[in-house]
């Protein structure tokens, strides 16, 4: 595939997004506090559930029991009740203290100068990815250099979405009329999968996200490739594709749908709904509703000839 060719070394794809296998600092601190909480709650469960089960077992009525005889009527015990109030309070205070520390470390981290800035804008049902320092606009894949931090500015063009790439960081919402911030620092090169994590309408399920962490040199090469404009095409320009899509360097400057300038550099189409193969691409352009019903891209009812022209043009957008 075009992506792998451009990158040279194949990138491992982390398709299983296990939050207990963190591969970046925010996810890591969240993982550590998770372990602490699991340990504490696990211990509480063993003790309390054990007591409950023991109680049921030990005091159940047995066949020989005298049904008329009531057991001793105990109304309470101040000491015991104080104890089991104080101990949980202490546990809770420990958890509050630890939480406060981790919350601050993740949220209040300010971007060091020179850190890569990416603006992520949520749409129904795709991600717009902008690199203001490079003048790059792409979609659905966030390329970042590995082992340094990337600072994300999160915005939305329509409804609330949520950025969640489990192995890299916890969630942060993308809310219209508001800018939120998140940061990630993938330790190793690889492709990390994520999903939109706030219900945003019909195709919320198919709003996948990929963070492609590349070794610094590979990342540099990628930015240079992405900055190149593409050349135009008569068929594409004459059809209504241009009302929604941008292809940098051509008169197509539509803003409603994803930027297609380097479409072939992406692993998937339609925000992860289908893989980026020639057959899938053709099917997608012919009838988007079949692959992603409810998506806002209409079927343009192209003739076979028009379809062929558009698809071969798109295939040239490396």
């Amino acid at each position: 595939m075009a992506l792998l060719q451009a990158l040279g070394a194949p990138l491992p794809e982390h398709r299983i997004a296990n939050i207990f296998k963190p591969l970046a600092t925010p996810a890591q601190s969240e993982y550590h506090i998770a372990l602490l909480v699991l340990a504490i709650t696990g211990a509480i469960f063993v003790v309390v559930a054990g007591l409950i089960v023991y109680t049921i077992w030990r005091f159940r009525r047995k066949p020989g029991d005298d049904a008329k005889q009531e057991p001793p009527q105990v109304y309470g015990s101040n000491q015991i009740e104080v104890a089991w109030t104080v101990i949980p309070i202490l546990i809770v205070f420990v958890l509050i203290g630890v939480s406060a520390r981790v919350i601050a470390s993740v949220e209040n981290a300010s971007p060091p100068p020179g850190m890569l800035k990416v603006t992520l804008i949520g749409h129904q049902w795709w991600w717009e990815v902008r690199y203001p320092d490079y003048g790059i606009v792409t979609a659905n894949e966030i390329h970042v250099p590995s082992s340094t931090a990337t600072y994300l500015e999160l915005q939305s063009a329509d409804v609330i979405h949520s950025f969640w790439v489990p192995q890299l960081a916890g969630k942060t919402d993308l809310i219209p009329n508001r800018t939120n911030y998140a940061w990630i620092d993938p330790r190793e090169p690889g492709i990390y999968l994520g999903n939109c994590a706030e219900y945003c309408g019909t195709q919320h399920a198919n709003m996948l996200l990929r963070v492609v962490a590349q070794a610094p040199d590979d990342f540099k090469r990628w930015t240079i490739e992405q900055q190149k404009p593409a050349s135009g095409n008569a068929a594409f320009q004459s059809l209504s594709c241009v009302s929604c899509h941008t292809v940098k360097g051509t008169p197509a400057v539509g803003k409603f749908g994803p930027d297609l300038t380097h479409l072939m550099s992406r692993q998937t189409l339609a925000a992860g709904a289908i893989t980026n193969t020639p057959e899938n691409l053709r099917q997608w352009v012919k009838d988007p509703q079949a692959a992603k019903p409810g998506s806002l891209m209409p079927s343009l009812q192209l003739t076979d000839q028009e379809l062929g022209q558009v698809v071969s043009y798109l295939e040239s957008l490396q």
């Binding site: 299983i16 409950i52 809770v92 509050i96 809310i175 009329n177 939120n180």
Partner: protein, 560 residues
Amino acid sequence: MASIDYPLDRTHRTQREFSFSETLYRWVATVDHKRLGLMYIVTALIFLVIAGLMASVMRLQLAFPNSHVVGPDTFNRLFTMHGTTMVFLVGMPFVAGLSNYLVPLMIGARDMAFPRLNAFGFWIFLFGGLLLYFSYIGGGGLSGHGSAPDVGWFAYAPLTAKAFSRGASTDFWILGILVAGIGSVASALNVIVTTVSMRCPGMTLTRMPMFVWVMLVDSWLIIIAIPPLTAAQIMLLIDRFLGGNFFNTQAGGSAVLWQHFFWIFGHPEVYILIFPAFAILSEVIPIFSRKPIFGRPAMVGAVVAIGFISLGVWAHHMFAVGMTSWSNTFFAASSMLVGIPTGIKIFNWTATMYGGKLRLDTPMLFCCGFLLQFLVAGLTGIMLAVAPFDWQLHDSYFVVGHFHFTLIGGLVFGLFAGIYYWFPKATGKMLCDKLGRWHFWLFVIGFETTFVPMHFLGILGMPRRIYTYAPDRGWDFWNLVSSLGVIVQAAAIALFIWNVIDSLRSGEKAGDDPWDGWTLEWATSSPPPEYNFEKLPVVRSSRPLWDLKHPHDPDWKFEQ
């Protein structure tokens, strides 16, 4: 010498046969709290089955990746209607139904404070529910869009704006719930006034049964928590119909404001929903352990504390919204604090059982199920309260697992305990205990099979509210397991329904006091006469029937 008399109405008056239209009128026009209570409960059970069927379809769709059982729009409507129905048309009527039926009986009163308001509350709740379901037919709107609402049960802005939710489906959600909410407030008001003003002589607040205490605090929560929802819904209506800008981000409005208002309602709401289970457990466990509730004052204090604290935790649903670290820390702290009185209740229930003589009949089995499952739910709740952990778990299947553990593993199990316990009182017939046990065990197995795997799915990165998923994300196996559990749960519910029908027809006769109870509802016939008690009782302790049955060892010698 004994000045406390318990009027036991043993006269079996021969009733003449009522014609169908007379019977219909007697139910439709009733203001009797017992009939209205039963109407609430039966309606809630019907909606439970409907919403359960919706869930079954969803689980069928999710059993396999890239499935086509239903399309995205249908699925999105299913989870919206499932959640909305379960919360507002199953949970809330159970609150109203149980308190309306039992509170007057337990405090020795003849009816609720405002019987006609009671009837109004029921019918307006029913109307609201029907209005919501009418959306399936009437939600067409101008451009033929939509049918049932598909915005999720918490209907976040701006997805609910006219621009993103065309047609009338969202309006049916708003109006149906708004109207039903008015019914809830009316019912809660009634419970408060009844409890404050109509207790029988000698029943000071401290001598009220635990059930009544819990439902009193529950009613307080309702009258404080429902208005924020009503207000937010009115604002949304103004936005949608009058072009208002409350949640219009284009005009500078805030989408997060809806979340604040909704969750200021929404979090207390989940406590409103679980309280009936707490109330039921506090009655059933002592009777089936043959011991008084352990630490009554602490139990009452814990319920009041939960009521108060629950009003201050709402933004733990919003940890991902980008609030300041101060706000996140505050809400994490308060959310963990609310776990303390809740934990205390579990300890006290267990201590009630400890040293007792446990009769493991069906009501008690369901209580035991509650204790273990609600413990798990509470602990996953603590995990979610720890904000940094929540940043991973929020809006994932972990949360879905958590709240189904609280609501099914907790609330529904508690409700079944209550139904098996009070069915004899309401109908005069016992439910079959053997069938009850089958019901219990099948339900436990099915419930655990469906909902335990959801925690794993959340950990593996599966978000909520998706109609399908790609294979090889690691989600296939647990989704299939989860879906298989539905079959077992459905069998359990079917058994329960059969048990009810069969027992109504030919169940064993219950008598006034089949369980050897200690509260006043067992001091009258089963079912009680319309006027509840021939003479209003006079009490001296919180266990009036214990005092009567044990004149040499009455409670009032020991209680403060």
